[in-house]
């Protein structure tokens, strides 16, 4: 593999990790808004308990992604920075509000309802703005003369909304599946029932929006649609992973009194589903970073920097992975935290 392919693969890995973590994180914010604490179900509380310690770490992955793109593809920064100025700046403003209120609510109870609204609303807006980068990169929405974004064209194009529907639906689907698993870990069957129900509804809907997006893509980015159809095999595997995970939500438990479903199996299958599909989407997007002006080969950094970066990744990950595992055990496994009620 060439440097460029290595670089885009690592970048892809970070995009994927952030997509999953971000979906769960922003989705939990949204569910926290929908389920208010005064109601009988503890679903909202479960969502917020997960969110409190994790959002900072999730946020670092976003910065990691930006820095990785700058480091690996410096020659893409000028066109990307100019083209994505508007959605990028909006994301920053919303993200700042969200993060600030996240911390403030922990310190001052009277801001709790403001926080729920801020975190819930931004939980839908930020992912929308992030997913909008996909149709922009697929071409046709950046003025070739000035590199500026054609906002009117972007907003009047049906494919934009298909991407949006797909993005939001995936976000809520993944977070519902995750929170179902988290509720099971917390042994809270009412919250589990709520999130399982949403996952069951959102799963097929997500699949439908994906098909719609590919269909509408034909008008705007024919090249990408054609490439995607060539990757059919991967998408088929992705669909199988989905069906397997979906069925896991129906499997019966040994103890008849417990709710149906194996949410851990389901969530792992869904991650696999998204991994396969986004790998296929990424492969179909090659060789372009931004169609039609920028390929990965043209924008990759020099070999000396590339080698140093790889070494720094290896060392950095070796130091951080134990930290992540410790973190996971404290907040996602430890019954004293998860099941606290």
């Amino acid at each position: 593999m060439s440097d460029a392919i290595w670089a885009i693969s690592i970048t892809w890995l970070f995009v994927f990790i952030y997509a999953i973590l971000g979906s769960v994180d922003f989705g939990a914010g949204f569910w926290g808004l929908v389920y208010n604490p005064r109601e009988r179900s503890r679903a909202g509380e479960i969502a917020n308990r997960f969110l409190s310690p994790t959002w900072e770490v999730t946020n670092v992955f976003l910065v990691l992604l930006v820095v990785t793109i700058v480091a690996f593809f410096p020659r893409a920064i000028a066109p990307l920075g100019t083209g994505l100025l508007i959605p990028g700046s909006l994301v920053l403003i919303l993200l700042t509000l969200r993060s600030a209120f996240m911390v403030f609510h922990y310190s001052a109870l009277r801001f709790r309802s403001t926080l729920r609204i801020v975190s819930g609303v931004t939980g839908l807006l930020i992912p929308s703005l992030l997913v909008i980068a996909l149709p922009i990169l697929a071409g046709g929405f950046i003025d070739p003369e000035t590199d500026r974004l054609l906002v009117g064209k972007l907003l009047s194009s049906p494919v934009t909304y298909a991407y949006l529907a797909f993005g939001l639906s995936s976000e809520l689907f993944l977070s519902a599946a995750f929170l179902a698993d988290y509720s099971r870990e917390a042994e809270d069957s009412s919250a589990y029932a709520v999130f399982r129900k949403y996952a069951l509804w959102l799963g097929p809907f997500t699949l439908a929006t994906a098909v719609l997006t590919v269909y509408l893509m034909g008008r705007q980015a024919e090249w990408l649609r054609d490439h995607i159809l060539e990757e059919q095999g991967w998408f088929l595997l992705s669909a199988i992973a989905f069906l397997l995970g979906y069925s896991a939500l129906w499997w019966r438990r040994k103890h008849p009194e417990r709710e149906r479903g194996f949410p851990r199996v389901a969530f792992v299958c869904f991650i696999l589903q998204f991994a396969l599909a986004s790998y296929a989407y990424g492969a179909a997007h090659l060789p372009y970073l931004v169609y039609p002006t920028l390929t990965v080969e043209e924008s990759v950094t020099n070999p000396a920097m590339f080698d140093s970066l790889l070494i720094s990744y290896a060392v950095g990950m070796a130091i951080l992975v134990p930290g992540f595992i410790y973190f996971w055990r404290l907040f996602l496994k430890d019954k004293r935290y998860v099941g606290r009620g």
């Binding site: 310690p53 900072e56 820095v67 990307l80 920075g81 920097m305 970066l309 951080l320």
Partner: protein, 447 residues
């Protein structure tokens, strides 16, 4: 304003805002760490209470530091795309490694804040140490990138591009060591003085119990000791950074000192306003020979003047003022901590006199201002370059228009956050008064 000025104003405001929180995010964990260690040594539970209350403040500040840092990181690519292209090619390493430090800080901050009750004392100290270490490492790494902008190395310019990139040479560029040391120590200094300000302010209240006075007095003396020591070291590292300027960025030193003619026995100008058109400095007190001595340790060191360089690469004249304000604040901080130390030693654990406490409340804001002056000085003093003698700021800026919309939006956001931070801080500490927590701690200690 033209787009370039707006871009600079916008990015400058983002940095100026972030620096306050970032600096405290480096300085406060050191204070928390020190008081956790003090507790282990003295077994006095008041120190854990100090650590606990400062951690609360730190967690609130982090709520602004993390997103404002995210803004700076992303806005750099959005506003200065051509500059970031060079960053990616030559100086990507410190940014990349900084992220790992950032991860370490975020992970263990969450652990320290949300899981404190489940950690053993050893693990608690380790967690807060890793938070402090992550913050300090971030400061050093980011300074490496900024130092590279001042003294770029590790590549050869060619027609329309660069070649022969040596990433580690860029990382350890000539001004890295002096700048990083200066930034790190001054952040420790600022964290300590902000704590000192608050403790001094609390001691001014009339109705205080004996145990509250002892608590605040201890916090005050501890933070003044750390702040005073750090401000002294900051002065030495600043002197070192000045000598690096003399060797590697002479026009910046000339502008900082308002020196137009190249000369030996160059005088040091204190105060005054530099007029670039008239080529003179008015209202300054000049100390003969001192600039030469500071720049090269000898009175006959030849210091370059601005006239040796073409007019269009001169930094703006106001950097002299910024430089003086930075140095002046630093000197004042050293004197104030020495004064307070002398009084504290004479009074042996009694409250300091009212007038001195009043004066000491100014140390925190003064330290923050000194940091701001310093950063504005180093970045305006580099103008018109964004990468010294390689890329002009005008050539680095984005081509996207209508930037004023973002300027208005982001400035409003910063105002909102500043107000929110103050409101949240005061409301939290009002609901958790020291007297109550102190009583609980003392009761626990006796029981």
């Amino acid at each position: 304003m033209d787009d370039l000025t707006i871009a600079r104003t916008l990015f400058g405001s983002s940095l100026g805002f972030h620096i306050i929180f970032a600096t405290l995010g480096v300085g406060l964990p050191l204070m928390i760490f020190v008081s956790e260690v003090f507790y282990q040594v003295t077994n006095d539970r008041r120190y854990t209470l100090m650590a606990k209350r400062w951690t609360k403040a730190q967690a609130i500040l982090l709520g602004v530091a993390i997103p404002s840092g995210t803004i700076v990181a992303v806005q750099m690519s959005l506003l200065w795309p051509q500059f970031m292209e060079m960053v990616g090619e030559v100086i990507a390493l410190p940014f990349q490694i900084e992220l790992f430090a950032f991860f370490l800080e975020a992970l263990f901050m969450s652990i320290y804040v949300y899981a404190a009750d489940r950690l053993s004392p050893g693990l608690r100290i380790l967690s807060v140490f890793l938070v402090a270490f992550g913050g300090s490492a971030s400061a050093v790494l980011i300074t490496s990138a900024n130092a590279w902008m001042n003294t770029p190395t590790g590549f050869q310019p060619t027609e329309g591009g660069i070649t022969g990139v040596r990433p580690w040479e860029a990382f350890f560029n000539p001004s890295f060591a002096s700048s990083a040391f200066h930034v790190l120590i001054s952040a420790y200094m600022t964290g300590a003085f902000v704590v000192a300000s608050i403790a001094a302010y609390r001691l001014l209240r009339r109705k205080l119990s004996q145990s509250e006075i002892r608590y605040h007095h201890r916090a005050l003396m501890m933070s003044l000791a750390i702040g005073g020591t750090m401000s002294l070291i900051t002065a030495f590292t600043g002197h070192w950074a000045g000598q690096v300027l003399h060797d590697h960025q002479p026009e910046k030193l000339a502008a900082a000192e308002g020196l137009f003619e190249t000369q030996s026995h160059a005088p040091l100008a204190l105060g005054g306003i530099v007029d670039l058109d008239e080529q003179k400095i008015t209202g300054a007190i000049e100390i003969p020979g001192l600039l030469s001595f500071l720049a090269g340790n000898r009175l006959d060191t030849v210091v370059k003047g601005l006239n040796d360089y073409p007019r269009d690469v001169w930094p703006p004249g106001y950097v002299h003022l910024l430089f003086n304000l930075m140095v002046g604040s630093g000197v004042l901080l050293i004197l104030l901590s020495a004064l307070a130390g002398w009084f504290g030693w004479r009074r042996k654990g009694d409250r300091l006199p009212q007038w001195l406490l009043w004066t000491l409340t100014s140390t925190g804001p003064l330290a923050v201002l000194a940091i701001e002056f310093g950063w504005i000085f180093t970045c305006s003093g580099r103008q018109p370059w964004t990468i010294y003698r390689f890329q002009r700021t005008a050539d680095a800026a984005t081509q996207a228009g209508d930037l004023w919309v973002w300027l208005v939006l982001f400035l409003s956001l910063y105002m909102l956050l500043l107000i929110a931070t103050v409101v949240i801080m005061s409301s939290y500490f009002k609901r958790h008064p020291l007297a109550e927590e102190l009583e609980a701690v003392v009761a626990e200690g006796n029981g």
